[in-house]
């Protein structure tokens, strides 16, 4: 079955290493104009007047668009992926620093920027809500007064689990742990910023948009709903994308402005944001203020987990997740453990910050859930003076418990957790690391060993439960075998570096006995591919990978019927081997896929019910999510004088089910581990008390380089998903989800001699030093 799987160099690399990638900013069209966005300097202010006359008089300016211009077309506001609405260009107020206020279209990039300086906006500054914990205070400024009848900043309350039963467990628990934790606001910061080129053809009425999007089909449908253009006249092209990580799922105001700019000027319009615009205004991640509680027996048996969360969604509720899950998949906060009860309550609030929350390879907030429970488990180990590995081993789900229904209703598909943890410990040399640590502590050196065990929930999802704005999360594929036996596969999902052109060809190849080189994978163009919701939440392999295997099997069965006609035998008498059907008991009597493909296109009389040609389609509606998991161990050394953390080793054992291309899987894990080090130690979008964003460039928003990252040490176990046709589970976000708690647990473990129990990320030298002094900081706000 897995013929064609295995390490295989990537097809797409041939163009990338030659500098022939084709990204949105590489799109150049005749007569193309350039757009730039004027942004608010205030986090919260009423707009009194906008004077665009001077900008319009600039000799190279072709159009200046304001919220008023858009309102005439009913486009001043657009729906968000969470069913809220977001200002495309502000008309009444600005609600975060960096919000879009006006859009200039000019003959070149620089002139467009120049003209922004000529726009005069009169603001009346208003008090800003900067601290999410103050958002619900009586008297807090009402941010969304555009919503009729709104008197406060609460967006939603959502809960899961059983409050009563959880309370009962806590009431008689021998040990309880309580800890407030912040998962700070971070940003996916793909190296390519967001942008679009819009080309509206007045004659044909066709709108073509090259976009940095992870979800071209969803965008096309939204443009049709919002802009009133017929959907068949909209083509969204997602060419090569310079990293997404969830940042490129939403529709951004700049895209809409480029479209309107093209309609108004009759010329193609390009808009590419700069780095500051990307960091300050596009979809951030996390910003979860969590209070976690854990109930346990004194022998270390974990009995219940309870969480209350304050979720900062910024000025517009623009999170991207299935509609029924306002807190994403945070409901998997019970982790990898068998509990008696669990309960969680999440309150979402508006603040005067950029909108977003679900991004950065978070698997719809599994990241926050894993961080919470893995920190709590480490605190329990500290409390009971148990080894954290031993404590986890005692509480992990056992293989015979799968499929396992968690206390919050998630059905984990398969796993052998103890085996995976044991392998990670063996690779790390866990016992000798502890011995080394003991010796180092005796001499005053700070060495820490941290671990995390995570279970992911990916592959959204069963369409009955999961949709985005009413669009069910099922994805289509189309497979066609050409007369000469090579193939083209059209998929709805879209690569931002994950290697779909290689991996998906390998799936077809393995099912049909072709060479992956003979399978062309087409993606990222709504005119050329079937509908589907796109690539995020690690869903490409779980959803479209399954669809691809199924469509190939459909083609294989059709080929069987054609072969039966060719060989003049009953189809039931045919057997499949790699790339050919043959007569059972007479292996010489067979036909290869290439022979069958040609016959399917020929004048051969085909069996009843078999149309000519050799192709098939499939829409895959996943029966369940898939649940990849893993065990990570991080070893750090901390300088007690400066608080600097060095990650010495990082051991990661991932179980993502069957691996189609292990080289690509390992690459995905490597990248996520670097993300984890970044989030744990360096990255935060903080604000000052006035609401100024303090993470608006790469000089302030720090990302890990080659010097902060160790040589990763990987291992694998393979527990196939029972409901996925090839047993694969998805891996794109596993390491980003699993690694931050391992790093933080390692640092806190290193600081044990100082009695440090917790400090919020990022564990910068300043934060670690303050923790050593017993005064860790709030990292989301600058000290005033």
């Amino acid at each position: 079955m897995t013929e064609g799987f295995g390490r295989r160099l990537r097809k797409e690399d041939q163009r990338f290493v030659r500098g022939q990638g084709y990204y949105v900013d590489d799109v150049r069209l005749p007569g193309m104009l350039h757009g730039a966005v004027l942004r608010s300097p205030h986090p919260h202010a009423r707009i009194l007047a906008i004077d665009t006359l001077a900008a319009e008089a600039h000799p190279k300016v072709r159009a200046v668009i304001t919220g008023e211009t858009l309102a005439e077309r009913n486009l001043a506001w657009m729906p968000t992926l969470s069913g809220d609405r977001q200002a495309v260009l502000a008309t009444d107020k600005v609600r975060f620093q960096g919000q879009e206020v006006a859009f200039v279209v000019a003959e070149d990039r620089y002139s467009a920027r120049d003209a922004l300086e000529l726009i005069d906006v009169e603001y009346e500054p208003l008090p800003a809500v900067v601290d999410a914990r103050r958002a619900l205070d009586p008297g807090a400024p009402v941010i969304r007064d555009d919503q009729t009848g709104r008197t406060g900043n609460r967006i939603f309350d959502w809960e899961t689990g059983d409050a009563g039963r959880t309370e009962a467990v806590f009431a008689d628990a021998e040990v309880t742990i309580t800890q407030d934790m912040l998962y700070p606001r971070v940003h996916p910061a793909p190296l390519e910023t967001c942008g679009a080129v819009a080309q509206y053809d007045k004659v044909s009425g066709k709108l073509t948009i090259w976009e940095t999007t992870q979800a071209p089909h969803a965008h096309r449908t939204l443009y049709a709903m919002v802009a009133g253009l017929p959907e068949h006249k909209i083509r969204v092209i997602s060419p090569d994308i310079g990293g997404g990580f969830g940042n490129k799922v939403p529709i951004y105001p700049g895209y809409v402005c480029a479209v309107v700019g093209s309609i108004i000027t009759g010329c193609p319009v390009k808009w590419m944001e700069d780095r500051s615009e990307n960091l300050m205004s596009t979809c951030f991640a996390r910003d979860f203020h969590m209070r976690g509680e854990l109930a346990a027996a004194r022998d270390g048996t974990i009995r219940a987990v309870r969480v209350t969360v304050l979720a900062d969604h910024g000025a517009f509720n623009g999170t991207a997740q299935p509609s029924k899950y306002p807190a994403g998949f945070f409901g998997v906060f019970t982790g990898s453990y068998d509990l008696e009860a669990a309960h969680c309550r999440v309150t979402g609030v508006y603040t005067n910050k950029a909108p977003g929350g679900v991004a950065y390879s978070c698997s719809f907030r599994v990241t926050e859930a894993v961080y919470l429970v893995e920190r709590l488990v480490d605190m329990l180990a500290l409390e009971l003076d148990l080894d954290p590995a031993e404590l986890r081993m005692r509480n992990l789900l056992r293989p015979e418990q799968f499929p396992y229904t968690s206390q919050t209703g998630w059905v984990y598909d398969s796993g052998d957790y103890p085996r995976t943890l044991r392998l990670a410990m063996d690779l790390a040399g866990y016992e000798s690391l502890r011995a080394e640590q003991k010796a180092k502590r005796a001499s005053g050196q700070l060495m820490g060993i941290g671990m995390s065990f995570f279970t992911e929930a990916v592959g959204a999802g069963p369409r009955k439960h999961m949709d985005i704005l009413g669009l069910g999360m099922a994805d289509g594929v189309e497979l066609r075998i050409h007369p000469t036996g090579t193939a083209v596969l059209r998929i709805s999902v879209q690569t931002q570096g994950q290697g779909h052109e290689t991996t998906f060809a390998q799936i077809v190849a393995s099912e049909l006995g072709l060479s992956p080189d003979d399978v062309e994978v087409v993606h990222g163009d709504t005119d050329q591919t079937p509908f589907g919701l796109g690539t995020y939440g690690s869903r490409s392999t779980p959803v479209s990978g399954a669809a691809t295997a199924i469509v190939a099997r459909k083609v294989r069965e059709r080929a069987r019927l054609v072969a039966s006609a060719m060989l003049e035998v009953d189809a039931a008498d045919l057997e499949w081997e790699r790339g050919r059907w043959y007569v059972r008991g007479d292996p010489d009597q067979g036909r290869s896929m290439a022979e069958i493909a040609l016959a399917a296109h020929s004048s051969l009389e085909l069996p009843e019910g078999v149309e000519g040609q050799l192709d098939a389609t499939c829409v895959y509606n996943p029966p369940n999510l898939t649940y990849p998991f893993g065990a990570y161990i991080c070893v750090v050394d901390v300088d007690p004088g400066t608080g600097e953390v060095r990650v010495r080793r990082f051991i990661a054992v991932d179980d993502c089910g069957v691996r189609i291309n292990p080289m690509i899987v390992e690459g995905q894990v490597h990248g996520g581990l670097a993300d984890g080090i970044g989030m744990a130690l360096m990255e935060v979008i903080a604000f000052d008390s006035e609401g100024n964003c303090l993470g608006g460039s790469f000089m302030d928003y720090l990302l890990p380089t080659s010097l902060e990252c160790p040589a990763w040490e990987l291992g694998e176990t393979v527990t196939p998903s029972p409901h996925h046709p090839i047993g694969a589970k998805g891996v794109g976000e596993s390491a980003t989800v699993g690694s931050p708690p391992a790093v933080v647990n390692a640092v806190i473990d290193a600081l044990r001699p100082y009695g440090v129990r917790h400090a919020d990320m990022p564990l910068t030298p300043a934060q670690v030093w303050r923790a050593i002094q017993g005064r860790p900081l709030r990292t989301d706000l600058a000290i005033s």
Partner: protein
């Protein structure tokens, strides 16, 4: 007002009349149409824009095109020679040194320079050499391996 900027890029001479404030990266991409070099941050932090100026890697997002006048540039498009990939390019393919491909041209230009000056670099030297550049996909490990691969497979008759 425009000024004339004449440069040799990958062995080809170009001259363009441009605004004095034009950044080198925009000159290379928008004026010369060589879009293999990328623009990622504006602040010299990410290195997507690394090209060679007179045989040295520079961050072209913080140089003016005017500063390259009369000088020689080499970009990713100049790595492949006589239809043969540079060992660095081949190394990135062999060792999965790239995913989205956006940082790759800049990384490879730095790698080529490193290998020209240190043909047999160890891991620490490689990490140091690329430490001024950001990759968001690979966690750097496979970039290090790619450059080591190139070191171990030098092109004959370079």
């Amino acid at each position: 007002m425009t000024i004339r900027v004449a440069v040799t890029v990958n062995g080809t001479e170009y001259a363009r009349d441009v605004e004095p404030r034009l950044l080198l990266i925009h000159f290379i991409r928008d004026e010369l149409g060589l879009t293999g070099s990328h623009w990622g941050c504006d602040t010299s932090n990410c290195g997507s824009c690394v090209v060679w100026l007179d045989a040295k890697p520079v961050k072209s997002c913080t140089l003016l095109a005017a500063m390259a006048d009369g000088r020689t540039l080499r970009t990713v498009e100049g790595l492949e020679q006589d239809g043969r990939l540079d060992p660095v390019q081949q190394g990135f393919i062999e060792c999965h040194g790239l995913q989205c491909g956006f940082c790759t041209p800049g990384m490879m230009m730095t790698a080529r320079w490193l290998l020209d000056h240190h043909p047999d670099p160890d891991e620490a030297q490689i990490r140091e050499a690329i430490s001024g550049q950001i990759c968001r996909c690979t966690g750097y490990e496979n970039i290090v391996r790619s450059i080591r691969w190139a070191a171990e497979h030098p092109r004959e008759n370079r």
